[in-house]
Symmetry: C2
Subunit: 402 residues, 2 copies
């Protein structure tokens, strides 16, 4: 069982204070550095992004904007407006422009949808990404549908449908794969749910992690996008921060009915996307970029799955099945998640996510993101090390590879 | 009087179509280029930014982020959250963090304030920046207070106060200096207004152009910020796009009561500011940057005032007094503003703002932004040229200087 030293306890207290200021989300790496400059973060396994995709994006950015001097235009001038940027995505997504809403990150879109379209009751599966209930307005009732730990947090479709028919929420939220457990709802099940839930005003499917999932073959994912023309109540929300590794740019989009897009644009969301996000959206729609991205996506998904498999070999922890780019890890030896977090940070400079604040999680849980192959190995070695288990690989070598 | 050629008429039609898609704002330079690649814009006198400040920001960005490789961190990682970024501004603004709300451009803040705090009636002076009435929700009554052209669009304080006492709006909006005319309300008058309007729930003062104004000495402006501790109903909104020339980054802030900031943060506005905007806000608060900025600010203000003086010497147009970085120009020879816009764009590659769509402007108006000294001269030469007036300077030389 993990026990903190006095020095580790002091750092834990400082971080707890920062965290109370950051609300229910982890302090950013920036905030962490500013407040505790002695803490080096070598591996950020808290935030959830594909580092290979970041590198790919940076290569394009360097070549096309920095080396050419065009970067200035993207910083100086106003970006184009919402529907102009949306039109760049039309062909790539195979969805008409009028159904696309671009946002300053998925967080802005979640806020827009919940504030404007949820009027009475929202059903949220827990554990979940907290914004879905935090952003609910005061007069909206929040209902929770608990995912069962003993069933690996899989969604029980029948019980879910029964709850909805009984409670009649105007909004239901499915994150697929789910955050923080990585549980995946197959395409056929999604289709079945949509068929059954035609009476619900807003069915939000958050596909921020869909690029990391697969059905038969590891190199192919299936998005609910192809169903959008058949279900007018479907709202697909997509962060670009995770799959493309560009959380700092703030880029996301949603696909929903034209009426809903128009409602949002009617009084707001002007220039809500930055010049660099506009550059990104245009890049995203380009075949040249897509082709390159597809390679790093598949590579990352394969490495992530290998990482989860290796993680699950460690005694003292239980790893839940994940189709996302992170694993939900339960500490089953009596250790506290908060102590695991501190030991990983202080001794190994690895930033993980303690899930102590997540509602609907009974037990001690941490969420660990997959990174590069070398970093993944370093994370495994670090966990072995804090539990005083023999290392599989030489720690220093793995860190250098990271 | 200006008369379009057939070719100019065809381009006018294409732009009109684009403009209908862009709503009541001009299409961005990006949109313009994409749709009409044959149109080169050499001088953007439509959008309103200090080009010297853009250059200054780019110098810091190059030195600190690009050359060092730190740019990646700002694109890859989540930025800090609202109040963490606000705390970086506390000392510089001399306002407690709890009263500061940072936004994804002033547009997001205008939307947040109008959607959340304006419940019944909003009083907007016209002509104005259209978002202030466009963002009003359906059940909010919009009242207009017309600024008198014959009084150079100056605000008549007594008549304004009478209107407010009679109509009892819950929100009043003052843009100072005003957009699109540049009219300025002195600090003493602002203070007087605030004293008289303690009963109004929300007094919005939009100071997006305040850095271009001055009272006694051209190198010193006075912000209503220093009054914020005395008036709990005061909401100061500040875009950083104009004075710092960074519209593409989307950065703005507001100062308002702590209760209002908390209300906004309670269910939203998480990660609403990008990594680069966070970098900018930290830079803005640094003395090293402030000192350099102050030089380019004063230089630009002086050149802008000289530009307005030179503009006003041109017959056929009337230039209204401006304390902003643009001049409202009335065509008094019977020419149409739309035709002026097209001639400037097609013949001289200068992008200006026709104000035909601005409510509260009776007559033919264009708004022309001040740019660098060389560009300002090129703009004057271009106007002389489209009116077939003798040029003061050699046009080609001035364009090269631009």
């Amino acid at each position: 069982m993990l026990i903190l030293t006095e020095q580790e306890k002091a750092i834990a207290a400082s971080i707890a204070e920062m965290k109370s200021k950051a609300g229910s989300h982890s302090p950013s790496v920036f905030t962490l550095f500013e407040n505790l400059p002695e803490l080096r973060v070598k591996i950020d396994a808290c935030y959830l992004s594909n580092p290979y995709a970041t590198e790919l994006f940076l290569n394009f950015l360097r070549r096309e904007l920095i080396d050419t001097g065009r970067l200035r235009d993207f910083l100086e001038f106003y970006p184009s407006q919402n529907q102009v940027i949306a039109s760049a995505l039309e062909e790539h997504l195979d969805v008409p422009t009028g159904k696309i809403f671009v946002g300053n990150g998925a967080a802005e879109i979640i806020q827009a949808v919940i504030h404007n379209f949820t009027t009475k009751k929202i059903l949220v599966n827990i554990p979940t990404f907290s914004s879905y209930y935090e952003f609910a307005k005061d007069d909206v009732q929040v209902l929770y549908f608990k995912l069962d730990k003993d069933n690996n947090f899989r969604l029980d479709i029948d019980s879910y449908l029964q709850t909805i028919k009984r409670e009649k929420p105007d909004t239901v939220v499915l994150i697929n794969p789910n955050n923080p457990d990585g549980g995946y709802i197959g395409f056929a099940e999604i289709q079945h749910l949509l068929e059954e839930l035609r009476e619900v005003d807003n069915i939000i499917i958050d596909e921020s992690f869909i690029h990391f999932s697969f059905e038969e073959r590891v190199n192919k994912f299936r998005s609910a996008l192809e169903l959008s023309r058949h279900f007018n109540n479907l709202i697909i929300i997509k962060s670009m921060s995770k799959d493309f590794g560009i959380a700092g740019i703030r880029a996301g989009y949603a696909v929903m009915s034209e009426a809903k897009v128009n409602y949002l644009l009617k009084n707001g969301y002007l220039w809500n996307v930055s010049g660099l996000a506009q550059y990104f959206f245009n890049l995203y729609a380009r075949e040249e970029f897509s082709r390159e991205y597809e390679k790093v996506r598949v590579q990352y998904v394969q490495e992530a799955q290998t990482f989860f498999k290796n993680l699950s070999k460690i005694p003292s922890i239980k790893v839940y099945p994940s189709m996302a780019n992170f694993a939900l890890v339960e500490l089953i030896d009596g250790s506290r998640a908060a102590d695991f977090f501190i030991k990983m940070l202080v001794q190994h400079h690895i930033y993980t996510r303690s899930c102590s604040d997540k509602i609907g999680l009974d037990g001690q849980f941490v969420r660990i993101a997959a990174r590069t192959k070398g970093e993944n190995q370093a994370i495994i070695n670090a966990i072995n090390s804090i539990y005083s288990l023999p290392l599989e690989y030489d720690y220093e070598v793995a860190m250098q590879a990271a």
